[in-house]
Symmetry: C2
Subunit: 490 residues, 2 copies
Amino acid sequence: MFKDATADEINEVMQQSWNAFHVYRKMNLKQRANFMRAIAFELENSCVDLIPVAMKETNLAEARLRNERARTIFQLNSYADACERGEWLEARIDTAIPDKNPPKPDIRKMLVPLGPVVVFGSSNFPFAYSTAGGDVACAFAAGCPVIVKAHPAHPETSELVANAILNAVRLCDMPKGIFAHVHGASFEVGKALVMHPYTKAVGFTGSFIGGKQLFDWANQRKEPIPVFSEMGSVNPVFLLPEKLQDAAMDIARSYAGSITLGVGQFCTNPGIIIGIQNMYLDIFVAALKEEIKKVSPGEMLHTGIFKSYVENRGNALAQEGVEMVAVSDTEPMINQGAPTIASASAQAFLTNPVLHKEVFGPYSLVIRCQDMGEMIEVAKHLEGQLTSTLMATENEIRNSGDLVEAVKNICGRFILNGVPTGVEVCLSMHHGGPFPATTDPRFTSVGADGIKRFARPICFQNWPNDLLPDELKDENPLRIWRTVNNELKK
Amino acid sequence: MFKDATADEINEVMQQSWNAFHVYRKMNLKQRANFMRAIAFELENSCVDLIPVAMKETNLAEARLRNERARTIFQLNSYADACERGEWLEARIDTAIPDKNPPKPDIRKMLVPLGPVVVFGSSNFPFAYSTAGGDVACAFAAGCPVIVKAHPAHPETSELVANAILNAVRLCDMPKGIFAHVHGASFEVGKALVMHPYTKAVGFTGSFIGGKQLFDWANQRKEPIPVFSEMGSVNPVFLLPEKLQDAAMDIARSYAGSITLGVGQFCTNPGIIIGIQNMYLDIFVAALKEEIKKVSPGEMLHTGIFKSYVENRGNALAQEGVEMVAVSDTEPMINQGAPTIASASAQAFLTNPVLHKEVFGPYSLVIRCQDMGEMIEVAKHLEGQLTSTLMATENEIRNSGDLVEAVKNICGRFILNGVPTGVEVCLSMHHGGPFPATTDPRFTSVGADGIKRFARPICFQNWPNDLLPDELKDENPLRIWRTVNNELKK
């Protein structure tokens, strides 16, 4: 239905994006923010057919999609606010000291946009991490034009959202080329976009294989460029004994919900639950088993994801020392993911890297440790994670310094007594983490700090006040926070 | 004299560094800052033999080395101050909203150290970008242990500075392994350090070939890690006609000084000067010629750099359309770099990539453009640069929007009416730039913002106040600036 972009079309798109970059980056923060708000408005008001189309293409439920659209709108509006507040610009001013030896010149620094950003839509967030999603909002706030590569699993939804953005482009009189929408089921389209000399950064949310490939391509360019790939993780949950003794049943109930939420198709899905073998762990596992049996299989996002789930789940269950604990009582139909809990000893886990890999879907592996020492060993052997969770009493936290330190090493978000699913959109959120959770642990894809992925500092030395950008003028006409001679002020 | 570290020694060093990481990162900002100040004190007071040893190893003059040591001490002290002020932590707090649907948890974020950082000493800054240099100071401020690979051109100087650091380690009771010093003339030592699983980031200042190789190795790791390589540039200078008419002689004089400063061995050395062909450009070139003839050749840092200079200069001068304009009147002796100015037409430059490459040493190429259009073409064809300079009147800046935009695309520091040599150490400095000036345009290696190269965010969700790090506690015991519910406050 949608044809892959040709090499010529990609060149044309990138040329227009490059041209638009020179216009858009000169627009002020208010203009950028208003453009983002106009996109939010279009998403909310113009696209009457968005939800049913997305339901058809993704198998996601109406309520979930309405919530996700609301979240997408909130992202656009809240990053627009952050864009306008301007703290992300990291404006710094050091005024001249002419009688220093040698004289110190006036130097002023701020972040400026990197240039055209290519964003790859994700399959599991057709709104929030796709065509008008978080990466796109961050790039627009930074002052970058965006080229979206539609996810081939929901091209029609993507096309409708693209139209909403293009409406906002017209309404706000933005330069042609500030936004482009490209289809491509083949990897060549993605590769051509990443390799194009006018592309200056890449944003991606999806699988490890996809995200790592983009990262490798970008580093093989003549001019390597920054890639932020968010590639998911297993989001380990550590159950400490005292806490389990207090609340095994409640924890089982809330984790059954978290594991199966959205048919387990979240990058923050808890894929590994680590406990210490005792009576309360048995109670927890028994309760989890009963809960999971009650959850019906749900239709997965698309056939590819379903097939991968069947294969990866099967492979995990076939590993030595892995036992099936529970599976949904309801037989799954074609394309449905069956909620599943397996279990293995810490020793089996520590010696088998297959068990460390994400099984994307409603699957979780309970790891039974002999003692705290083994639990710490498991934490030390885990790769980088978006999140890690401790279920623990305050007392246990205080007495488990080594575990806390080991977990800190591997995660971006450290949750205490909660579930990892549910990613709050706010400035303090960090949705990132050490590799392989992402390709750069220093950046986030949720929250307005994500803008900084797409901006770089430039400093102006010895420029007269009225030739400086407004952000750096003496009189601070934008009233933004700036560090002036090492002091933050407005 | 100094033996290359063996694979076993490197493993041992990295294991100790990893152990030290877990101790040092828990030390508070004041402890880190005091450690850095102790290093500065040791550099200033204990190492009586530092300067003569460095003179012998680098051929740099005493005054230059004394200044560089003073700058190194200033860096350590001023980054220590920045470390303690804590703005670099980017502390963000969003307090809970329990009655939101779903309830919003309490989330708090701050930067934490990445882990052990490997720093490669540079040859041209034996103090300021070597063993106790900017990268090392930034890593210590971030909370990272450091492993320095000594530059093989000044191993003894490096060893003395390492001893000063180790004295500070003892005086401040820092963990063993917080600092290690490794020699290695072969590339295997560097590769083993970059590839080691406990290495979490790399800092480098030097040649393109060296810096790009480290970047490639780091990306080929099972777990890719951030590399900041500062690889120099040609630092183009654009001479606009009106300005030249006003001050051709003065500009020639100051550029003759900048081109030959430190025998041209600065990464900010102006290697390309672009003018528009007219009478005033001729006056400028004639004056530059006279000035350059008067400058005596100076001894270069080491034989390798001297040989490269002879070869690269010879190669540049042999290109079609390149004319020799001036060379020092004094015959250079062995290991001395002869100050040299060449010239070429914009057309010759635009069609020959060899002329775009840095000739590290006291060499600059004057490019003669037919008109402003050609000057803009030259700007558009330049690769990423640490600095770019406009010599222009205010009037010319206002009327040269396209040139200004083209130059903005390529540089990290944009200088007006000055020379690029001389890099002020302050928060507003950006010493970085698009590839190939550095491997990541989003970071700097000069100024306290360089700390952020070695830190990553972590967010704490739903932690009780007294289990949070001090930086994030409600009562803000460190009195640092934090963004609380989207508002900056102290």
